[in-house]
C-alpha cells in the first residue's frame, strides 16, 4: 500500500468520527509525505491545521494508521503550503487578460531564479525563411543542451526576435528538466556585476555563483566589446562552462567577426559553435505574426487592416507589435477601427525610406558600428581604422541617398570629388569580392533603416 492509499484509508475512517465541517476544514490539502520505518510524516497546509490535528486527532489518526499497518508507531506533522496547484492555474488566468493601455512593472513577470520571461516560448514564435535556421538551431539546442551546438550564437538587427528565441530555449529547458539550471543575463547586467564584484573584491563568489549553471544565456554580447577586464572574466567563465559541456547561448547585433575590440580568443570561441542569423521578416511572415498577436490578445481585426499594417510597417517585429497595440488601445476608446482611422493612427509607424535614411543617420550609424566618434570620420587622417569607415560612409551616401560626388566630397571637409569616386568604386568592388564586407554593409544598412 503506498502513501496516498494509506492516507485515503485514514480519511475514509476519520469521516465517521468527526463532523463534516471539521473534516472539511482540517483535512483539506493534507497528505502523507514520507514514511520512515515507524514514523509517518503528514503535511498540512497551515499552522492552524497542524495545531488542531496534532492536539485533537493525533491519537485517533495514529490508531487508524496502526490498525492498517502495524509497523507504524509514531506520527508528525509539518506545514507545507499548497503553492504548486495555485501557480499552474494562475498562468492561465494571466493569459486570458487582454492588453491594456496601463503599463505594468515588467520585472514582475520574470522568473526570479532564471531571469526568464515565461511569455517567450517556441509556441508563439513565428518561423519564416528569415529565421528558420536560427529557429532550428535553437530547437536542437533546447532538445539537447550542451551537446549539439555549443555555443549557439544568434545575431540580427533590433526587434527581430533574438531575445524571444533565446528565452524560448531557456524556458523549454527549464520546464522540462527541473534539475537543469538556466540563467538569462543581459550583457549589460553581466558587465555591471563584474564591475561591482571587482569593486567589492568578491570576484570569487561571483564566479562561484555562475559555476552551477547548466545553460547560460547572454543577451547583446556586443556590449562586452572594449571592456577588457569583463572580457577576461567572461573568457574564464566561458571556458569553465564549456569544458563541462554546459550550454552557452549568445546574441549580438552582428556576427562575432564584426564585433570591434573583441579579443581574438573570445571571437574564435564564439565562432566555434553554431552561428545563425535572423533578418527582416517578409510580408507573408509579418502577416502571420500580426495574426498570431491578435489571437494572443483575443481581438479581431479585419483582414484588410492587418494587410495594411503588414505592407507598411517593415522596420522590425517590435514596431509591428507597437503599431498593433496602438490600434487596440484606440479601438477600446472609440470602438470602430476601419482602414481610414488605421491610416491616420499609424502615420508615425509607416516606413518611408526617404525619411529614415538621411545624411545624419548614415554618419551616425557608420560611426557607431565601428565604435568611432562621429567627428573622427571627418578628421584629415589616413589611419586605416578611420579611412575604411569613411569610405563606407561615402559609399552609402552615394548609393542610398544618391548624393553627387562633389557634394559628398564637400561634406567630408572639402576633399576632392575624385576621392569620393575612388571610395565608392573601391567599396563597390570589394563588396563583390569580400564576404565580410558584404555582411558588414548589410548590417549597417539594416540598422540605418530600422533605427
Amino acid at each position: 500500500m503506498n502513501n496516498s492509499e494509506l492516507w485515503q484509508s485514514v480519511l475514509a475512517q476519520m469521516q465517521f468520527h468527526i463532523s463534516k465541517a471539521n473534516f472539511a476544514t482540517w483535512f483539506k490539502n493534507t497528505e502523507i509525505i514520507s514514511k520512515k520505518e515507524e514514523k509517518i510524516i503528514i503535511s498540512v497546509p497551515n499552522a492552524f491545521s497542524k495545531e488542531w490535528l496534532s492536539n485533537k486527532y493525533n491519537k485517533l489518526i495514529l490508531k487508524i494508521l496502526h490498525d492498517t499497518d502495524e509497523s507504524i508507531k509514531d506520527l508528525d506533522f509539518i506545514i507545507e503550503p499548497q503553492l504548486k496547484g495555485l501557480l499552474i492555474k494562475s498562468n492561465n488566468i494571466e493569459n486570458e487578460k487582454t492588453e491594456d493601455a496601463q503599463l505594468k512593472f515588467d520585472e514582475f513577470k520574470i522568473n526570479k531564479e532564471t531571469n526568464l520571461n515565461p511569455r517567450y516560448t517556441f509556441d508563439n514564435f513565428v518561423v519564416g525563411s528569415f529565421n528558420e535556421l536560427a529557429h532550428a538551431a535553437a530547437l536542437a539546442v533546447a532538445d539537447n543542451p550542451g551537446l549539439t551546438y555549443n555555443p549557439l550564437f544568434i545575431y540580427g538587427g533590433t526587434g527581430l526576435g533574438k531575445t524571444h528565441l533565446m528565452q524560448a530555449v531557456g524556458n523549454k529547458i527549464s520546464d522540462r528538466l527541473k534539475k537543469e539550471k538556466v540563467k538569462y543575463i543581459s550583457s549589460e547586467k553581466f558587465v555591471s556585476a563584474i564591475v561591482s564584484a571587482i569593486r567589492t573584491n568578491s570576484m570569487e563568489s561571483f564566479k562561484a555563483s555562475l559555476a552551477p549553471i547548466d545553460v547560460l544565456i547572454l543577451d547583446d554580447i556586443q556590449f562586452i566589446a572594449g571592456k577588457n577586464k569583463s572580457q577576461e572574466e567572461f573568457f574564464h567563465v566561458f571556458n569553465s562552462l564549456y569544458e563541462k559541456n554546459k550550454q552557452i547561448i549568445l546574441s549580438s547585433d552582428r556576427p562575432p567577426n564584426a564585433i570591434p575590440e573583441l579579443e581574438e580568443r573570445l571571437r574564435s570561441r564564439f565562432e566555434g559553435g553554431m552561428i545563425a542569423d535572423v533578418s527582416l521578416p517578409d510580408y507573408e511572415t509579418r502577416l502571420v505574426i500580426l495574426k498570431t498577436k491578435t489571437k494572443e490578445k483575443g481581438v479581431d481585426l479585419p483582414e484588410e487592416i492587418l494587410e495594411y499594417i503588414a505592407t507598411n510597417v517593415k522596420k522590425n517585429i517590435r514596431e509591428l507589435e507597437g503599431a498593433l497595440n496602438k490600434l487596440l488601445v484606440s479601438s477600446k476608446l472609440n470602438q470602430t477601427i476601419d482602414l481610414e482611422t488605421t491610416k491616420k493612427l499609424l502615420k508615425g509607424f509607416i516606413f518611408s525610406p526617404f525619411d529614415v535614411a538621411n545624411y545624419k543617420k548614415i554618419i551616425e550609424t557608420v560611426a557607431k558600428f565601428y565604435n568611432l566618434d562621429e567627428k573622427s570620420l571627418f578628421d584629415a587622417t589616413r589611419k586605416k581604422e578611420i579611412v575604411r569607415p569613411r569610405q563606407i560612409a561615402m559609399f552609402l551616401l552615394r548609393k542610398e541617398l544618391k548624393y553627387s560626388f562633389p557634394a559628398i566630397a564637400r561634406k567630408f571637409g572639402g576633399k576632392d570629388h575624385t576621392t569620393a569616386i575612388y571610395a565608392y568604386k573601391k567599396i563597390l568592388q570589394e563588396n563583390e569580392e569580400n564576404n565580410r564586407l558584404t555582411e558588414e554593409l548589410n548590417l549597417i544598412k539594416q540598422r540605418i533603416y530600422s533605427g
Binding site: 465541517a21 471539521n22 472539511a24 476544514t25 497551515n46 499552522a47 492552524f48 497542524k50 495545531e51 488542531w52 492536539n55 485533537k56 506545514i79 503550503p81 503553492l83 495555485l86 492555474k89 494562475s90 498562468n91 488566468i93 494571466e94 491594456d100 493601455a101 496601463q102 503599463l103 505594468k104 512593472f105 520585472e107 514582475f108 520574470i110 526570479k112 497595440n325 496602438k326 488601445v329 484606440s330 477600446k332 476608446l333 472609440n334
Partner: protein, 375 residues
C-alpha cells in the same frame, strides 16, 4: 469560570477581537470568541484560520475556566451595559453576564471545539515604534491588491536589515516603499516576510493611536505583532498571522535611478488639478502631464469625446527636458494622498518608464507609478 471586569475594558477588548470574526458557514465555531483566564488576566481570542487576535485584560478572577460564545452578540450586548463592574460566569457552556440592573445568559459552545491558535518558540523579536509602524503601514497597505495569480505580491513585504525595516507593496502598476528606523536591537542579517493584506489592515486599525513599541516575532510560516501593556510587562494585544509563501520580487530594481524630468510641485494644488482633470478623463482615466521646453509651468490636461476637455497649469520647479506622459489619475491621487508634505517631487523617466512621487524633506517614503502607454 467566574470573573469581575470593568465594562469599558471588556468592551474595548471585544471591539478588537471581533474585527476578524465573520459569518463562517463551513465552521460556525469561528463566529465565536474564546474567553479564558490566565493568571490575573482575562484573555479574549478570535481567529479566521488565517490570522488570530488575542487581547488581555487585567481582571479579578474568582474561578478559573473557559467559555466560547458568539462574538458579535456578546460585543453588541456589552456595549449597551452601564459603565460599571461586570461579572461573567460560565456554567455548562453558557455564559451569565451580570451588571447592575442586567442579568443575561448567552448560550455558548464547547471550548474544546475552538481552534488552537498556533504558537511558536522563537523568542527573538524586533521592535518598532507603534505609531511609526501604523502610519507607515497605512501609507502602503492599500497599494497591494488581492491577486490569485501572484499570491506573493498580494501581501505587504517586510524586510529588516540592520536597524531599518522597509515595508513595500505593489499591484504591479505602482509600488510604494516606506523605511522605518527600528528601536532596540538590530536585525541579525536580513530577515524578510510577506504579510497578507487583511491582517496588515487589522494591525493598523487595532494598534493605531496607541503608544509603545510593537514587538515583531516571526517563524517561517507565521508572524506575531505584539503591543505590551502600558502599566506592566505583559502583552496587551497580539495579532498572529500566517505569512504568504513565495519569494517577493526584487522590487528595488523597479525603482528607477535616472530621470528625464524632475518637477517640484505644491502638493495640494497638484492634487486639486488632477482631481479636476479626472472629471474629464474618460474610460481609461487618462490624465496627461506635459512640460514644454523652457516652461515654468506644468500643464495638466484630459479629454473625453463625450464629456469635454480640461486644461490647467501649475507652477513648478522644472529640471530636465520637455516631456509628455499620461497616467491613470487614480494612481496619482492615491500616491499624493499618502504624502503629507506641502511639496512633492515628481520624477518622470523615459517614455513608458516608471515614474516616482515622493515628499520633499522626507526620504522615507517613495511611490513608483507606471504611466499609460503613449498614444
Amino acid at each position: 469560570m467566574k470573573i469581575e471586569v470593568l465594562k469599558e475594558n471588556l468592551k474595548n477588548g471585544l471591539c478588537v477581537v471581533e474585527r476578524i470574526v465573520g459569518k463562517n458557514l463551513s465552521l460556525p465555531i469561528l463566529d465565536n470568541v474564546l474567553i479564558n483566564t490566565e493568571d490575573n488576566f482575562l484573555s479574549l481570542s478570535s481567529t479566521d484560520l488565517e490570522a488570530a487576535i488575542k487581547f488581555w485584560i487585567l481582571v479579578k478572577i474568582i474561578k478559573k475556566g473557559k467559555a466560547v460564545v458568539p462574538a458579535k452578540l456578546l460585543s453588541n450586548f456589552v456595549s449597551l451595559l452601564p459603565n460599571e463592574k461586570v461579572i461573567l460566569e460560565e456554567k455548562n457552556q453558557s455564559l451569565t453576564i451580570e451588571c447592575k440592573n442586567f442579568k443575561n445568559q448567552i448560550q455558548g459552545f464547547n471550548p474544546e471545539e475552538f481552534p488552537i491558535i498556533p504558537e511558536f518558540n522563537n523568542l527573538e523579536y524586533l521592535e518598532v515604534d507603534n505609531e511609526k509602524l501604523c502610519y507607515g503601514l497605512s501609507q502602503i497597505v492599500d497599494i497591494a491588491s488581492p491577486s490569485q495569480s501572484r499570491p506573493e505580491i498580494s501581501g505587504i513585504y517586510f524586510i529588516f536589515s540592520k536597524n531599518i525595516v522597509k515595508i513595500a507593496a505593489t499591484d504591479s502598476f505602482r509600488l510604494a516603499e516606506k523605511s522605518i528606523t527600528m528601536e532596540g536591537v538590530s536585525a541579525k542579517g536580513d530577515v524578510s516576510f510577506i504579510l497578507p493584506q487583511k491582517p496588515a489592515r487589522e494591525i493598523i486599525n487595532i494598534l493605531s493611536g496607541k503608544e509603545g513599541r510593537v514587538k515583531i516575532y516571526f517563524s517561517p510560516s507565521q508572524t506575531i505583532f505584539e503591543l505590551p501593556m502600558k502599566e506592566i510587562q505583559h502583552p496587551a494585544v497580539q495579532i498572529t498571522s500566517r505569512l504568504i509563501e513565495g519569494e517577493y520580487p526584487n522590487y528595488e530594481e523597479i525603482i528607477p535611478k535616472k530621470f528625464k524630468t524632475k518637477l517640484t510641485l505644491r502638493r495640494d494644488e497638484f492634487l486639486n488639478q488632477i482631481k479636476a482633470a479626472a472629471l474629464f478623463s474618460g474610460k481609461i482615466n487618462e490624465v496627461k502631464i506635459s512640460v514644454s521646453a523652457g516652461a515654468k509651468e506644468v500643464e495638466i490636461s484630459s479629454k473625453d469625446y463625450d464629456v469635454g476637455e480640461s486644461h490647467s497649469n501649475i507652477s513648478a520647479k522644472i529640471e530636465g527636458e520637455a516631456i509628455e506622459t499620461s497616467f491613470n489619475y487614480k494612481f496619482l491621487v492615491d500616491g499624493l494622498l499618502n504624502i503629507k508634505s506641502s511639496e512633492v517631487i515628481f520624477e518622470l523617466s523615459k517614455e513608458d518608464g516608471a515614474c516616482i512621487l515622493k515628499p520633499v524633506g522626507d526620504a522615507s517614503y517613495i511611490y513608483v507609478v507606471m504611466p499609460i502607454k503613449a498614444t
